[in-house]
Structures are given as structure tokens and as C-alpha cells.
Symmetry: C2
Subunit: 465 residues, 2 copies
């Protein structure tokens, strides 16, 4: 006998994709103020949809940044209260010329839906939202109490999410967060991510002279800002890929022998991964690929620019160079300390007489779900039920600032239950989501919600701080 | 008794500056095809002016690139024939936002005329052109035969100048080139530049993966194109500033003891220079400032870019990074060999699995005027006459591809006789020329032309190859 909610989701497939398409057409880039209209359009679409679906108390929650969209259904007294999380903001589309179809015109090709935000996170958020809507439509109720929170600042480090949570503690009080963000590791292997890396970001600028100088008139006697920036960036790592920043690795825990064995047991096609990326393996020597991704922190330059970058040549010695850096952090690292170590390193390595300006960005600590958390166990059981396989516990090399912020503000844990996949080019041109994610995702969300309906709020008491 | 030509130049001062202003308003940026209209406008202004002044055979000379403007006056049989050189193309105005007045709106402030090209080389070219025009207007003739050649590709390495000269050898046949480009070293010290550095340019791109990758999902396991580019740029020099490129210094001649003594005798305010630039001295250890500028070659990054450079952050591992490099070369270095050494160095230092694309730019060798060249001696005498001081022989750290190209194509030497000054921010925002350069320049050009009128073509025979 087909589940009535799944039946409804199947029957409404075209409508679901059409509504997602409308959301994808709203260019909701949170990092760039030029996209403010796209942000507002995405919010309006979501407010309309969750109101129609039957959520109550629909509103914007705001603390000086991009507002979050909120709605709730609280008709299951005694059942757990689950804060379902997603985000409607997306990364910038640059470099726009590398897209095969326009980033804000959703396009289906070969079973994949291409658009900025398709995979991160409008598609996965839509799976959660449409599942909840289908429950309400088919059964008039949800198996648990649900508070829906769709953030608008995930791509800018959830700048004001902490303040939004702090300012709405009673409204947002819940037993756990169930996140539609975070992504599946792979499409071919049922997994559940129990941890994520943290992040810290900064920008620096070096100024070597009062102005750009002619490379003939001054070449050989003055510093070149691009050379200084290149040396600073090169100095961050040793030739073997080890971070060369003193203090950066403070608190980092080596994987245990048991963790190493567990990693080794994961079927993982290293060669295929790198062949597909057309990249040579690189990184910290002495660690395997999954250790590097899940247990080791990184420092990456995300952008560097200076001097003349137009057509032809210009014989200047640039006096200004700029770099954006970000770090991925692991459990045990304090984000502020890690960022401070990099800043100290830059200041120490900057030559005398060169002005170094550093602007610190957002921080977020790494996160691990407690091993026996009831939502984690339910999520694993739901995936086993719908895939026929016990899911592997994995980690996520990326950052979900949410988990860290939520634990800090509301004292509860977060379980990630997304059906995007890590190869879907989010944060890059030609982002897509597999259409099959909607089948996998609806099945799993329905199964999980029905299992949560058998739990009680009391099951979560030991996991609230 | 005032020289009638100088009197005429003084009386026409407003007209001269007005005509120069019209030329400066034409945005004749040769490196960027977007400025083609500005190039055409500058040519039209010059053609009209030299025709009105009384030059004959006025025309464009062209060999597939930006045309040069040509005109001649050949009414002095037996006298030397001097090819007077200038250029009407200018550097790009970027970064445009740093200009205090728009780059193509000439503006006088504090005795300085600000505009892109004011100093390099529309101002100095205008001094030469207006002096010749004043001779023709006041006396109906010039003291020597003059062939006027105003190039349109000086700022792009005189790409087709060699072909223009090769294709017009009979037309351009002359005893020597007198260049209105090249610049005075200082405004406070009469000097004459007897040599210039050469140049070689290239661009490189590194590709580390098939696309930009998410710094969370892939951070720690794939190479970062910006890190590779930074290491490549950093590898070009040792920490003490010495070029680290094997073979790059081949052929470079150390300054002789006599040259070192002569350099030491030049009054030169090192501390004032660097204080004015707000830069620490930098460069090759073991050499003084003037040695570094005149006797030592350099490698400079002129532009570097890659990854996300917009507002806010973007957590990508960029798969592409780009750099523009240029080298300043000294006598003894073969430009092709020097460029090949840098290319070999980049290829050797590029990590395995990273695609390195290199595009070679133009080359031009360094240049030295023969010690006893009659035009050099006349120029020194003219400067002594008008300034009351024997000018110092200096070199120019910058490149005048002209000298090298002219020697190759026409077999004659070039003497630089420009009245721009090296601190006038050419190739940078807020380029200007001192209005006093017009007084100094007109006096010197009139004195020089009158001295050349006493020479004969035969005086130059020993200096033609």
C-alpha cells in the first residue's frame, strides 16, 4: 500500500518542480547588495508557499541582516518539536560566462536541474517544505511539531542568525534541528553526516608604495605588492602541503585508530574522484583523502587580485594587492584562535615598510552530533528503510554554521538530512541537482517524519543543554 | 636679442596648450581595442596640425597595427636629416577611480597639467612639434631636414614599428633619430640619457582542476590555482631580491669601477626618493639604487588575478589563476634568451598535474648611444647652453623599443631629448607634466636645432651601419 503522502508528492511532481523553478529564478545572492531585489523576491515566494501549505504564524525574523522566513505547525502536543532548517540565499553566479545555461533560468538537461541554488539549498529545502506540505494536505497534520526556519544568510556565514535565534528563543524553542542543508556525500552510497568543518575568513591588502609605479623608472628599487602578496600566500604552506602557520593546528585531534579503520572501510574511489576533477591529489602529507577532508583543517586563498588585469600589458609595479582567505576548521580548533594564528603569521611574514591591512570575516566552529542522538538514530533508520542499506556515518568537509550557532543559542543539536550531493557544483558554475534526489528525498523525509511521530519530546530531554 | 623662434613660441603659449589639450582629450589607449576611436581621433588631430605647420608628404604609415603619423620637411640639402620621433598612444587609465580629475580631461593644478599622456608622450611630442612649427612659421625653414614620425604603438612594445620602418626605408632614411620620448631623469639636474633598458613580457595561466571547487567539499585534497601562482611568482626571486631564474642574468655586465665612481658622483637623494614614494628600498642585494635601475635587470608581476574578487566572500578553491610578468633588460642580455629563461623556470617550478599556459609578449633589447655620437654631443652642448650646466650622462631604467628597432631597421642611432620628468606618474593614475617643461623644452629644442644646422650629413657617416 502506497503511503498517502508519497502518493500525493508523486501526483504533484510537476507542481513541485514548477514552484522550485520560480524560487530558483529569484537571484537571491546574499553576499552582494546588488541582489537585494532577488533576496526579497525569494522571501515573498516562500512566505506565500508556506502560508498556503498551512503553516501558522508565518513571518520574517530579522536582526539587522537578511531576514529569515519562519512558519510553524504545533498541533502534536507531547511529540518532539523539530526546527526544520533550510536557506534561500545562494552563492554569486560568477564567473557567469562559464555557465552553459543562465544561472537564474532553471534548465533541465539529462536528468539534472541546473540553476544557482538548485543544490545549495533551494532544491533540498524544497524537498523538506513540499514533504511537510504534502503531510498537511493528505493528512491534515504533521507527525511532529515543526518550526520551519529558512535562513537568508547561510552563504555569508549566517551573520545575524545567532541574533535572530537569541531574539526569538521562545518562538524557536525546539528539541532538535533537522537541516535540509548539508548535502549527501555521494549519490551511490547511503550516508549520514555526523559532523562538519568550521570556517574562518579574512581578507588582506598589502600596500607597498603611495601609488602604482612605472616598472622601467622604478623597476629594481621598490617592492612590488604582488610579489609581497605572493610570498605571503606561498608562506602559508610548506612545500609538502602542511600548514606552515604557527599555532594554526592547536587543538586539532588526530583521527583515532578506530576512526582510521572506519575510514579505510568506506568504499571510496580516490582515482576516479581526481580523474573526474582533472586535478592531481594535493594537500597535507601523511593523511589520506578522507582524513584530509574530514579531520584536517585547511587554509585556501579564494581570490587574489592586483595590478593590471585588462587586455594587453601594462608595465606597472602595482602598489596594492588583495587576497581573500578562508580556513576550514575541525573539532578542537577554536575559530578565533585559528584566525588569530593566520593573522599573526601574515604580520610576521610581511616585509618591513609594507602596510598590511587585515579585515576579519565570520567564524564558525566545527561540529559533531552526539553518537546516540535520537534524531540521528531515527534518520539512520529512515535511510535504512528507504534504501535497504545501513547508512555509513561520514563527515562533511564543508561548514554548516547553523549547528554551531544553534547549539550556542538554543542549546540543541542539529542533524543534517539533505538530498543534494557533493558533486553538484554548488559554489561553482553550472550548479545542478539530480532530479532523482526528489525521489530519494521525499521517501526519506516521509519515513523520517513518521518515525519521529513515534518519539516523544521526553526522548530529547537528555540532549538539551 | 630674443631668438625669433622662442619669441614666437612664447607668444603662442595659449594656443600651444590648447592644441595639446585637444590631443590629450583623445583617449588613445593602444593596448585595448575598445579605444580604437580615441586612437583615430588623436591621429586626425596630428595630421591636421603638421599639415597646417607646413610639413609635406603627410600620411599614415601602417603595417597591420596602429598607424604612425608621418610628415617631412627636406629643404636643407647637405644638412643632417633627423628623424624626430614621438608617440601619440597612451597607457590605459586604470585604476580610473584613483584619478583626482578625469584622465582624458586635461586639468591644470599647481603648475602641472594632469591627463593620461600629458607626460608620456603627448606633452613632450608637442614640445618637439610646436618647436618645428615655430621655426617654419618664424623663419620659413628648419635648420636641418626633418622627418617626423609619431608612433601609435609605443605602449604596446612598438609591435609593428619594425615593419613600418622596413616597409618605408627610403622614405624614412635619415642620419639619426631625435626622440621626444624618454623623459628627463630629474627636473632639477640637466642630464642626458645615453641608454635604456630593454623589455620582455609574458602572461601565464595555471589550471589546477576542471572547475572551481567548493572549499569545504574539496578543501585539503586538491591544488589551489592561486597557491600555485603565488609559489611561482614567489620563486622568481630569492629572499634577498636576487633573481632566482637560472640563465636570466646571462650576458649581464657588472658596472665597471669607473662607472661605479661616476654613479657615486651623481647627486642623488635616496632617502628623499623613497620617502616620497612611501616605499622601503627593495631589490637586488649588493647594488646601489642607480645600479639597480640602470645596470641590473628586473622581473616584475604587473597583474595577478584569480578566484572571487567581488564584494563579500566566496568559499571556492579557484581552478584558474593568471599573471602578467615583464622583465626590464640591460645591455648584454638577449631578450629572447631572458624570456626563455623565465619560461623554463616557470615550467620547472610548476607542480605536476597543473596545466601551465604561457603567452609570450613583445621583446626589445636594451640600448646604449655611442659615446662620441654627433647628435649626443650637440644635445649635451644645447643643454649646457640653455641651463648653464654640463649635463650628466645617465641611463633610463625604462624601455624605448624605438632605439633597438631603429638600429635594426635603419642602422642609425637614437638620442633621447624629452622634457617629461621621471616622477610624473606616467603609467599610473594622475599622470601630469610640469608646465615649466615647456619653457625648458622649447629653449633646448631651439638651441639643439640651431646647433644641428651647423652640422653636415657627412658628420654622421661614421655612425651609420
Amino acid at each position: 500500500m502506497t503511503d498517502p503522502v508519497l502518493a500525493r508528492l508523486a501526483a504533484d511532481r510537476a507542481g513541485i518542480l514548477e514552484r522550485l523553478g520560480e524560487l530558483l529564478r529569484a537571484p537571491s545572492v546574499s553576499t552582494d547588495p546588488a541582489y537585494a531585489d532577488g533576496m526579497a523576491a525569494a522571501r515573498a515566494i516562500l512566505i506565500r508557499r508556506i502560508t498556503e501549505a498551512g503553516f501558522a504564524n508565518v513571518r520574517l525574523l530579522e536582526a539587522g541582516g537578511h531576514p529569515a522566513v519562519y512558519g510553524e505547525w504545533t498541533g502534536a502536543p507531547g511529540s518532539p518539536t523539530v526546527l526544520v532548517y533550510g536557506h534561500y540565499d545562494v552563492q554569486p553566479p560568477d564567473p557567469a560566462e562559464l555557465w552553459h545555461s543562465p544561472p537564474f533560468e532553471p534548465t533541465v538537461r539529462n536528468g539534472r536541474l541546473y540553476a544557482r541554488g538548485a543544490s545549495d539549498d533551494k532544491g533540498p529545502s524544497s524537498i523538506a517544505l513540499e514533504t511537510l506540505a504534502a503531510f498537511l494536505a493528505a493528512e491534515g497534520r504533521l507527525p511532529v511539531n515543526v518550526k520551519l526556519l529558512l535562513e537568508g544568510e547561510e552563504e555569508v556565514g549566517s551573520a545575524t542568525l545567532g541574533a535572530i535565534l537569541d531574539g526569538n528563543r521562545a518562538l524557536l524553542d525546539a528539541d532538535v534541528v533537522l537541516s535540509a542543508d548539508g548535502g549527501r556525500w555521494r549519490a551511490d552510497l547511503p550516508t549520514i553526516a555526523v559532523g562538519s568543518r568550521g570556517i574562518a575568513a579574512l581578507e588582506f591588502s598589502v600596500t607597498t608604495a603611495v601609488k602604482d609605479l612605472h616598472s622601467g623608472r622604478y623597476g629594481g628599487i621598490v617592492p612590488n605588492a604582488l610579489h609581497v602578496a605572493a610570498r605571503l600566500i606561498a608562506s602559508l604552506h610548506r612545500p609538502d602541503g602542511t600548514p606552515a602557520v604557527k599555532g594554526f593546528l592547536d587543538g586539532v585531534v588526530e583521527p583515532s585508530d578506530a576512526e582510521r579503520r572506519s575510514l579505510a572501510a568506506i568504499p571510496f574511489d580516490d582515482a576516479g574522484l581526481f580523474a573526474g576533477l582533472r586535478a592531481e591529489p594535493a594537500g597535507e602529507s601523511g593523511y589520506g583523502t578522507l582524513e584530509r577532508l574530514w579531520y584536517r583543517p585547511t587554509i585556501d586563498a579564494n581570490g587574489v587580485w592586483g595590478g593590471y588585469t585588462g587586455a594587453g600589458g601594462k608595465t606597472v609595479i602595482p602598489n596594492l594587492a588583495h587576497a581573500k582567505l578562508s580556513m576550514r576548521l575541525v573539532p578542537g580548533q577554536d575559530p578565533a584562535n585559528a584566525a588569530a594564528a593566520v593573522i599573526r603569521h601574515l604580520r610576521t611574514h610581511c616585509p618591513a615598510g609594507v602596510t598590511l591591512e587585515i579585515r576579519e570575516g565570520h567564524h564558525s566552529a566545527a561540529y559533531l552530533v552526539p553518537d546516540a542522538h535520537p534524531l540521528l538514530l531515527a534518520a539512520e533508520a529512515a535511510l535504512e528503510e528507504t534504501t535497504g542499506t545501513v547508512p555509513l556515518r561520514v563527515r562533511n568537509g564543508a561548514t554548516l554554521p547553523l549547528s554551531d550557532i544553534v547549539r550556542g543559542a538554543l542549546g540543541i543539536d542539529t542533524v543534517m538530512f539533505s538530498f543534494s550531493t557533493s558533486d553538484e557544483d554548488f559554489h561553482a558554475p553550472n550548479e545542478f541537482i539530480r532530479l532523482s534526489a526528489f525521489d530519494d528525498g521525499f521517501a526519506a523525509w516521509v519515513a523520517l517524519l513518521r518515525r519521529l511521530g513515534k518519539q516523544t519530546a521526553a526522548d530529547y530531554a537528555g540532549f538539551r543543554r
